[in-house]
Amino acid sequence: MSEFYTSVHLDKDLCKGCINCIKRCPTEAIRVRNGKAVITKEYCIDCGECIRICKNHAKLATTDSMDNIHNYKYVVALPAPSLYAQANNLDDVNIVLSALKEMGFDDVFEVSAAAEVVSLLSRKYIDEHKDKWPIISTACPSIVRLIRVRFPNLLEHLMPIKPPMEIAAEMARKRAMEKTGLPSEDIGIFFLSPCPAKVTSVKSPIGYEKSNVDQVVAIKDIYPKLISAMTHVVEENKVEELSESGRIGIGWGRIGGEAAGLLTDSYLAADGIENVIKVLEDLEDSKFSSELSFIELNACTGGCVGGVLQVENPFLAIVKLKGLRKYLPVAKVHDAPKDISSEWTKNVEYLPVFKLADSLLESLNKMAQVDELCKKFPGLDCGSCGAPTCRALARDIVRGVANEKDCIHILREYIHKISDEFSHL
């Protein structure tokens, strides 16, 4: 799969070419060209902000269909912990897990259980790597991609442990193969996802070669069927005791949950992509004087419950997660399984996608050109040229992908000048 696969994409027919998504994109990855939004894949981090803001529903996430369960002989569902907070009046996560089996999955493996494994491994890693403090969480794929293209100095702080979804997938696959004797390709591991970034992390992983997840289904796509299956299993008394996770695992669904699992005071948790960018900028400038050991960063406000493929309001979901965790043991997983590969196998390299030119001299020249161009523009950041700011248009021009006359103010001046000249003939 291409290095720059993105799940976020555009339905051209619905796009009106307005300026909402181009203004909202945190990496200025979108432009309007010929009346339609265009995403520069190299800059896109799949945060889903454009999906959130598009009032024409033209921005979409590529996800897989639940119908794909028919492509495998044995299918396992991996529910993200935030899934438990989507339904109302739920007091037992086993109802959700039993309902998933009712919907056609042969088995379920909670991502929250794998999250407790990651918490365990993280506590150890943080303890043993004081030289890398503060260590940055790598569970949110958007954040890893953001750091990769914009914050190269922070790459060494990334925690090189696979996210819970990945570890759950490997454990689920092993368990299924042992149980059924089937070969790996007959087993379908389906992640039930809160967001598009998780799709990208499966199709184009960072830190390891290949994902163990086969299909990623959006939570909002299975929600209606899930609710009726849940009602059914309760009515027919078919609720099985399937849950293997405790307070820590289920808490991962919300901001602060991952950090809480580290059983330490010295952490920082930030959510919302703009807030995260501010934290990373300050971190880069070494503005944090206290001895922080860990930084949890989520692109979505509220954490994964705030993902763009969710159904419930994230703040209500957080309340529900609180209720679900209330009388659970702190954790149900106490040992990391010996036979799974939990660590990254590849280093993450800086991808300088934003640089203007290859050599320093050339870049300096181009920067000067950008500054000169900016002086000509009115500085209104109106978006009519299709770029989010005047400076972004200047950069585009220097990169050779736009023209001065894309700016309607410059174009208007030009037309006045020409019509003036005509009238003097």
Binding site: A259, L328, P329, V330, H334
Partner: protein
Amino acid sequence: MSDSLKLQYIISDEDFTRAGEASGDVKSKLKMMGVNPDVIRKVSIAMYEGEINMVIHANGGVIDVIITPKDITMILKDKGPGIKDVDLAMQAGYSTASENVRALGFGAGMGLPNMKKYSDEMNIETELGVGTTVTMKVNF
């Protein structure tokens, strides 16, 4: 033949992540015994809160559970710091829990009040520097 079932749980001070397991075990045993679900709920909450308290404040201890056909008694004994002011500790919202424990959702200050609410009888014996013993009884 004995007319009571005795269980003992050693609540560890080493692995905080095991907090809550003992009450979970009692809950599943009561379910298997076919005890009234409302009673099971009361017992689980009361014992859970007591168990968490032991881990957060006292570095663990021992919980003895005696189940008879009529009732269940839980004796939670620790060698922790003791409770300085029991009336204050019983106040809803008052907590001395540390920051990292609060991050997990504990420390709302409702532990002791909930234990009193969900048990039919409760008694606290405590001595500073020696330890605390909380005894609770729930009738079937």
